[in-house]
Symmetry: C2
Subunit: 681 residues, 2 copies
């Protein structure tokens, strides 16, 4: 009797807890789990597993040190998200998560290795089953993300999950060439990747601006090409082990024949030009390129590959191959003569010749070659993997020709695009959608790319996260997981979790914002910062032509997230108002925000001249005020059903306000534009 | 001509920059440097040293690896506070800080070693001169703190500083016994100590709740007494080296004969009772204590000291000695008989006997004994150093008897007192003020104590910092540096700097606050959090009698800083209003805040039941609203010059509102009380 009373009581509490936590959701059945990436298959159960008295983890059956370290890390992260300290062992008083793993993973993580797991959570305990530790690692991350706050304390809702990834290659490229990324940053990046089940760390290790790996065979590479900023081989082995612990492969990239000036500082004989060479201090595509016509080039690369393929155990080896402008070759009579002698008709053909030679050297070391789009030529061997920065079209072309491919177009997280735009890009949509299913199997997945012209270790976290979680979901979850509102709702939760688990981008944002004024940022500065974004695509680069590689990245544009949550919320609000679907609360909220933004300038202007870093924000602050004033007029007009006579001029004015100021965009403008559009006579 | 124009222009700009930055300061001469601790002597120069093109550091004369590491760390911290990346070497284009050190420091840092330095900053460069690396370390920290934001970019104002500490012993005790503090936390603590020139890390390593050092001689100490949470000897050597790099001595404490239950789990024969013993899981003073009547106890300690005095190179060795309640001894007939046989009249005498024996064992190993107040007995040898937790009186008593002393009374940072209260405590005021100057020389300095009943690695940073900077100033700066307003103004700046240099307490506060509701904390929750404080002195302990050592410290009381800046600002404001010195802006600000606080409850209450951790805040939120309502009525009365008839009842109501709720104090009450007091008829 008491028992059934308790049971009934619990379900009442649960139901109310559910509605409090998810007031907007119409029914339990439709509610997505608050996690990213969403699992392939999940059935929600009844009740919750309470965690307030702690949780013990027991590894049943097969185990290995990696799994035990994963358990320890799991417990640390669980403590971080709950604040519940591990209780000294007292058998039987805490629920148990049992981890059952059938057997070992491959000694070196393989592409396509089984990553599946089965997780069952009931009100009395949880079981995680996986064929190998790789799946178990993923399942532990799912459990951590499922932990949430309830009126009864921290808990996981009962659920049964069967999960596995859609694509086997889910990568993140970190460019350590342009701005060096220290070990701590690399480790932190791997931590974040683990949390969202990304499994390939693509380490871009050489660039015009820096060669970042210790070579014992050719030590002048790092000695003259890195400004002292490089990874020792021991450090690299440490990172590879760290990544393996987290279910992540490490694929190195040595970009050639272009993007290679830093190699030539120590070894000018590798280049097509005369030299001497200096490390590049600007951004862009530069003329220097390896000389594809000399045997000594291939001898050098052969010995270099011998060293590097031994250092990096992964089966794949990236040789870059992008953006070689051919200038140095055109200017070198010896190369021109070689081309004529060998019937090489143009620079593209010369590049094809180089790629073919290099690919053989990679194959000789037992590795599979990856390269950017440009390496795909009519004769490219079938086992070369194409990484596309040009789009699904070139990926489809590769697949038709029998080459495997990885999509990076649309996943360029350095271009400050919203998460929704990346989320909308699917490796099997567009040109690849019409491939046969056999051809589609050649599309291995995708990779987010964190190019580092405009990031340093300080702000790189806020450029990668949380947006990359949306890309991770695209690559892991079923193709029909596409609801953008759901994605953003879960992204906000995952962002909190990422910070619980050791990402520091929120704190770094605060610090950078405080530094602008030399004191704690004022509410007015914060209000401005919360609705501006860096310019999109290559506009940032265009506006930063005078940048050197060491130009400080300490301005507001460097601090703010690539996507403003507040501006997105306002745009959604404006859209509801413009389309007639707004509630009175929506109108009130819009008015409140617009009033705040209109009046913000008066508070902010007197503060700005005190610091060189805030002085440049004066026009942007005025811009925000102007846009908000127009928005308020439009709102008045809509509420009073009185058209605004000057709406056309206002639309023109808004167009002006879209011009970047202090290299920043006022992101309330699109929402205001929508309001103005419906206020026209 | 152009040159003098430029010069004139610069001074105009500088002057305006100065007034913009320090609008409240009447004259340049009176402006204290924005640093903590304030130097012994400083003369401000003319002009600024601009840092926007970077800074190079050159070590002239004597150097050693420690100094070179300090330079590297300096450059990293400079980059963190400015966001200016180190520019690749291009001779002559950047100003230089020249560091000139005459010769080496002592191989093991000594008490009273010369810590002085001379720093000269001019518009063209800077020079730091010191007799040894210890002084140079301090000077580098001063330089970092001097960096500030100007309309021309980051800069240091021209200045000449001659600096040295007032006291040679400036310590911070970290209690790793009650809650274990991992290596990262210890290192972070040392980083903060370096920034504010503290020079003794007092490591409280054994407690009833845990024995935290690996002993190879008696391995059951850590194996049975630590729950697996202890430092290996290698880790300890690492910390000692890390501290030495930062000019900090490491003094270990092994507390005995009480506070030692954890020893007895593995070695029950050491105790005065029967055993068996378990690690204590509650807080308080416990009965178990070492048996001072058996020779085997001293044999054990002799071998233990042999091991530990070799591990810790510092000349001082802390044996605790506090709070032994004598219960176990009273209950042991064998001990009672021993006391009768040896004419030991009571437990105090027994403790004196024990201390004398232990002190001899410490001396035998070439170390100087330190102990808490209780070790001071009529026969205590003159070289024993007394650390006082009871007050200046016992320190004076020690000095009169010829013993040296360290003050900790008034520096108990675990008791959630405001910085101003610690700042007001001086080792040479009160009972010690009337000592002869020879006796005063026996007062070595002081130590802040971070006892860890109610802190974990997560929130310990926010308990130590920034308040401990005020204690550091008390111990370093001249005795007449006492202005509380200046202290708070500089404390806010130093708090920003500490975060630039790697403290994470601001971020941890945000994370803990977010965790309360499972999402980003709402503005209403933040508003409440910003004006509450943990109860003072031992009230927190009294309200937490049901706590176990593993009780989660994840509530609002654990997250908020011990001192609310906003509440202090309001109290100051209320004081100006009550005393007739308020401006119209003061009145407006008070009304704005009080209105916000009054209305906050309505926004917050609906959110609170959603999480177990916020549910308990409902009464506190109402409390804030009630106090603010009373405050607004008082404000009306003052502005209208109409006495409030019910002022007496309101005063009584406010008294009620001072009762802690959810173990938290509503800190706007004192300010409101002051307003109500002047609104009485």
């Amino acid at each position: 009797m008491l028992f059934s009373k308790l049971l009934r009581r619990r379900s009442v509490i649960l139901l109310s807890a559910y509605f409090l936590l998810h007031p907007q959701t119409p029914s339990l059945a439709q509610r997505p789990l608050p996690i990213m990436p969403l699992p392939a298959h999940a059935v929600q159960g009844t009740g919750i597993l309470p965690l307030n008295s702690g949780l013990q983890v027991r590894i049943d059956g097969y185990t290995e040190p990696r799994l035990e370290r994963a358990r320890d890390r799991f417990l640390v992260h669980l403590a971080a998200e709950t604040g519940i300290l591990p209780v000294p062992a007292q058998p039987g008083d805490r629920p148990t998560l049992v981890v059952k793993t059938a057997g070992p993973s491959a000694p070196v993580q393989q592409l396509g290795e089984d990553e599946s797991y089965h997780l069952e959570v009931t009100p009395t305990g949880a079981t995680l089953t996986a064929p190998n530790p790789l799946g178990a690692l993923h399942g532990l991350q799912t459990f951590l993300q499922l932990v949430h706050t309830t009126p009864q304390g921290f808990a996981v809702d009962a659920v049964t999950i069967d999960d596995q990834p859609r694509f086997p290659w889910r990568g993140l490229l970190l460019d350590a060439g342009r701005h060096f990324m220290p070990l701590g940053t690399v480790r932190q990046t791997l931590d974040g990747m683990e949390a969202v089940k990304l499994n390939v760390f693509h380490w871009h290790l050489s660039e015009n601006q820096g060669f970042r790996v210790e070579s014992k065979t050719y030590p002048l590479l790092q000695e003259k090409g890195s400004d002292g900023l490089y990874y020792t081989q021991e450090e690299i082995r440490g990172i590879i082990a760290y990544a393996r612990d987290r279910g992540i492969r490490v694929v190195p990239e040595f970009d050639m024949p272009g993007h290679a000036t830093s190699w030539f500082v120590g070894y000018p004989e590798l280049a097509s030009g005369k030299g001497p060479y200096q490390i590049e201090r600007k951004w862009g595509v530069f003329d220097p390129a390896m000389d594809p016509t000399r045997e000594s080039t291939y001898q050098f690369l052969d010995r270099f590959f011998a060293e590097m393929t031994a250092l990096f155990p992964d089966a794949y080896f990236h040789i870059g191959g992008d953006e070689c402008n051919g200038q140095e070759r055109d200017a070198n009579p010896r190369i021109q003569q070689y081309m004529r002698q060998h019937n090489i008709k143009d620079n593209a053909a010369l590049q094809a010749y180089f790629t073919a030679r290099v690919q053989k050297l990679v194959t000789k070391r037992g590795k599979v070659t990856i390269g950017w789009d440009e390496v795909l030529q009519p004769d490219t061997p079938k086992d070369v993997v194409i990484q596309s920065w040009r789009g699904q079209k070139s990926l489809a072309q590769a697949a038709i020709g029998g080459n495997r491919g990885i999509l990076s177009t649309g996943y360029y997280i350095d271009l400050s695009e919203p998460a929704s735009r990346h989320y909308a890009v699917d490796p099997l949509e567009g040109a690849t959608a019409s491939l046969t299913s056999e051809q589609q199997k050649l599309i291995l997945g995708g990779e987010a790319t964190m190019w580092s012209e405009f990031v340093t270790p300080e702000n790189v976290g806020g450029r990668i996260w949380p947006r990359t979680a949306a890309i991770a979901e695209r690559l892991w979850s079923p193709q029909d997981v596409k609801n953008v509102d759901s994605m953003y709702a879960r992204l906000a939760i995952v962002s909190e979790k990422l910070n619980d688990f050791g990402q520091t981008y929120k704190a770094e944002y605060e610090q950078m914002l405080n530094r602008l004024s030399g004191r704690q940022a004022s509410p007015a500065l914060k209000a401005l910062a919360s609705v501006v974004e860096p310019p999109k695509e290559y506009d940032r680069a265009d506006l930063s032509r005078n940048h050197y590689s060491y130009t400080p990245l300490n301005r507001l544009v460097d601090a703010v997230p690539p996507e403003s949550d507040r501006a997105r919320e306002f745009r959604d609000l404006a859209h509801r108002i413009a389309s007639g679907g707004a509630s009175p609360a929506d109108f009130q909220q819009a008015r409140e925000w617009l009033t705040l933004w209109r009046d913000n300038d008066a508070a902010l202007q007197p503060q700005l001249p005190k610091s060189e870093l805030t002085a440049e924000l004066a026009p942007l602050s005025r811009n925000l005020s102007q846009a908000a004033t127009i928005g308020l007029a439009a709102l008045d007009s809509i509420e009073k059903h009185q058209p605004v006579e000057s709406a056309q001029e206002q639309a023109a004015a808004l167009k002006q306000l879209k011009t970047p100021q202090a290299t920043l965009l006022n992101m309330i403008v699109p929402g205001v534009e929508e309001l103005v559009a419906v206020s026209r006579p």
